[in-house]
Symmetry: C2
Amino acid sequence: MEKFEINILGCGAALPTPRRLSSSQIVNIREKLFMLDCAEGTQMALRRSKLPFSHLQAIFLTHLHGDHTFGLIGMLSTFGLLGRIQDLHIYGPQDLRRIFQPQIDYFCADSPYKIILHEIDTKTMQTIYEDRSITISTLPLSHRVPCCGYLFQEKPTPRHIRRDMIDYYHIPISQINNIKKGMDWTTDDGTLIPNNRLTTPSDPIRSYAYCTDTTYRPQLAELIHDITCLYHEATFAQEHALLAKKTFHSTAAQAAQIAHDAQVGRLILGHFSSRYKTEDALLQEAQAIFPNTILAEDGMRISL
Amino acid sequence: MEKFEINILGCGAALPTPRRLSSSQIVNIREKLFMLDCAEGTQMALRRSKLPFSHLQAIFLTHLHGDHTFGLIGMLSTFGLLGRIQDLHIYGPQDLRRIFQPQIDYFCADSPYKIILHEIDTKTMQTIYEDRSITISTLPLSHRVPCCGYLFQEKPTPRHIRRDMIDYYHIPISQINNIKKGMDWTTDDGTLIPNNRLTTPSDPIRSYAYCTDTTYRPQLAELIHDITCLYHEATFAQEHALLAKKTFHSTAAQAAQIAHDAQVGRLILGHFSSRYKTEDALLQEAQAIFPNTILAEDGMRISL
């Protein structure tokens, strides 16, 4: 299968510590890199990850709080110093231009590449990026400021040709694409060969949703039903449920409830408050509701 | 002696790496902390240093390039989250307000403390901070944008009283301060006791200059004559002297020449280009001119 990999660069909440950066990830799909949020220190974490800077296609910011954006200007500046020439597209909620364009104009004035800012409406689900193999859509979230998650979905891929059967029935090259798409084949003597004798099934379609920061939002489950993997913020443990509600964050149990309702393949918890020495309690309360849960960790790489 | 300590948080040039942050230091004078520059990642380095955040008095920016300022907004935001209430003064060249006030207004809107920006003239030497024990003055430098270094100077301290002699001559408490200032004492029978029998010399006056970024600037030596310790940028080795000149940086040999001409106590080299795998060559060429030279390192602590 083609590469579809989540690289967690940082998964802490508002206060970065030497142990854990604030929010930042790279989704690596067939060696195209997509960045989710960009906390202070992201460029150093990106270096540590050994992912090639030049493969970065676009950056998606969930919201304009500092713990999701303070690494942006430094990283953009570094790309310029390293001689990037490829355009870089940055998506984020309203105010993206007002806040970041002046910084870019001042600190990246000599940059050899173009930085293009896209302000998106966070209130409705919409597809904002598409290429041959994937779509990326927004997921409305509820936080103290306009905020959205992002859903990465592979496009359906063709069925796999069985070389031996193609040879056996002398099917011409010109028909291969049709066979891949599911067409049956009729031999010269009129025998119909059903497509499933000529092909094996296409790869399963994989999908990943990145949902942070948000209060518990039950209606999110419908939008991400059946996805392969969900990253959901779990800033607090259930014992701090009131604080979570007040600050528009989620508990680990609430994240697990979303994963359970959406019947996702697996759940990654992140955006941990620095008040917890370990996140064992968060993991336990989540696994009680949705067993296939893991804790994010800086530097973690997950293959879907 | 009272504490006078340089804490190097970062000493790399423009490109921060996992090995080395860009420019940032803390000068710790009697547990008052003064920050010099604030590269991305400074707040994490400050945590690692275990210096108490709350003791930070003021921040001094040499110039408004990103590798000296990108950590500022994140650190200011963190101070707010941690509940700082004490005013924080930030000094820097022209444009400081234009560039940073909008970021502060947006990202630190709820901060419980006041951030006061001071734009300084970098072209003349002037004292911009003073308290009971020190003065901090600017040092004009020559870079591609307005830029100045900073000179920390202790104020003269009184001579140390010799308790035993005070008791022996029955000198009243009321006269102690005068004796500390150097006054002689006349006993009841008219004998003059010279001050140097009643006191030991005051502590030597220590001073530290932070000079980055700058092209080789011979006239700097006069302004820092005889200081205890000089940190001078040494972005390049002498083999890249032309590149240094072109980019308004210095070579290690040029930094050493300044140290030699100014007859400083010791020299710390920093702001190393990331092109060098080790800085051994820089150290060697500097020591050939000024032997008491060391290389800065992230996390280094130097007591004056």
